[in-house]
Symmetry: C2
Subunit: 204 residues, 2 copies
């Protein structure tokens, strides 16, 4: 019997996560087209699985899809759009905290602490890609707990925001802010948690 508790991620999901990480870290130019064949060879899977992943990322707003012409990386949001995204994110995460905090378990605490340790380490090493991914994973945790349907909406907004994330200057601040969030949640202090999350979500 398999020892892993975690569900085995589908091929599509793995490719999605990998590409999303690279795009958010700015490793793929906004101009050069993304080719299905190349990715298929690179991941060692069929073009069909890659297509599914690209389609999903298009739906998330990370990639822009043009029929018969493939996909390209979406351009970063304007300042006005960034402010809008930040506002939407705050609304969703405030809602999620309100809904979930009452049924928060010790296991949730444990999971969140684990992510916080990863984030802290990534900040110390100035590993931008890891920081972005873990940051995303932490916020995603409480949103996902609130509602799977809401999660997909939230992801689209947040990923779009983080595309412009590349120039993060203060690494320690990022770690500290999330530590404050985790701490507030551990105390089941809703208003403190909301305040801490609200501070962390801002347009760059």
């Amino acid at each position: 019997m398999p020892s892993t508790r975690l569900p085995i991620l589908s091929m599509r999901q793995q490719i999605c996560d990998a590409l999303r990480g690279e795009i958010m870290a700015g490793e793929i130019s906004s101009n050069e087209p993304v080719r299905e064949q190349n990715l298929a060879k690179r991941f060692g899977v069929s073009r069909n699985s890659v297509r599914d992943a690209l389609l999903q990322l298009s739906q998330e707003g990370v990639l822009i899809y043009s029929p018969n012409c493939g996909v390209r990386v979406g351009s970063p949001p304007t300042q006005k759009e960034s402010r809008l995204y930040a506002k939407l994110r705050r609304e969703i995460e405030m809602h999620s905290l309100e809904v979930t905090l009452s049924s928060w378990t010790k296991e949730d605490d444990c999971n969140l602490n684990r992510l916080q340790r990863i984030l802290s380490a990534a900040c110390e090493q100035r590993d931008l890609k890891a920081i972005t991914e873990t940051d995303l994973a932490m916020h995603r945790y409480w949103v996902s707990k609130a509602s799977k349907e809401l999660e997909s909406v939230w992801l689209g907004i947040t990923v779009r925001m983080l595309i412009a994330y590349s120039q993060l200057n203060n690494f320690m601040q990022c770690s500290l802010e999330h530590a404050a969030i985790v701490e507030a949640i551990a105390c089941r202090d809703l208003s403190a948690a909301k305040k801490a999350v609200e501070l962390n979500i801002r347009s760059k």
Copy 2:
């Protein structure tokens, strides 16, 4: 040279639109699973195209996807969620109007008027499915004009809201509200347009 001006919709898009309409109109139960094979036969296409469509609808939040177990129709949002969705929608549509109205063309007026006529007719005939679809198409018009990336975020929110739309009681009000929006836009009156849209978007 081809005579059609409109872009030919991909198979996936056609299936998406059809299924989304049916789901929003409540024609598919929330319990019965959606089978790829059935849909493939029904639309006369391969299972692969259906898969793409189901995947996209899952990403929109209309369907819930479980690996190796297919998809099912998402459950309607709670009242608290509905209020959240309404708030998010208002924010996005206000933003879109602000951004687009200055570059609104006569062609846009024409397109919107056409949709309004369709909506009006659908309201008179009490055709709930047509009403929902046209309502969606109208709002989508200005959001899409503002930003393709924003559009996908908006669509996820709005479709989720409209799933619970089934019990629309006052058909004429719907038509009148949209007429007011179109009128305000035709006059390029931003604040009136914003007010009219804001009134129209509410949690049921």
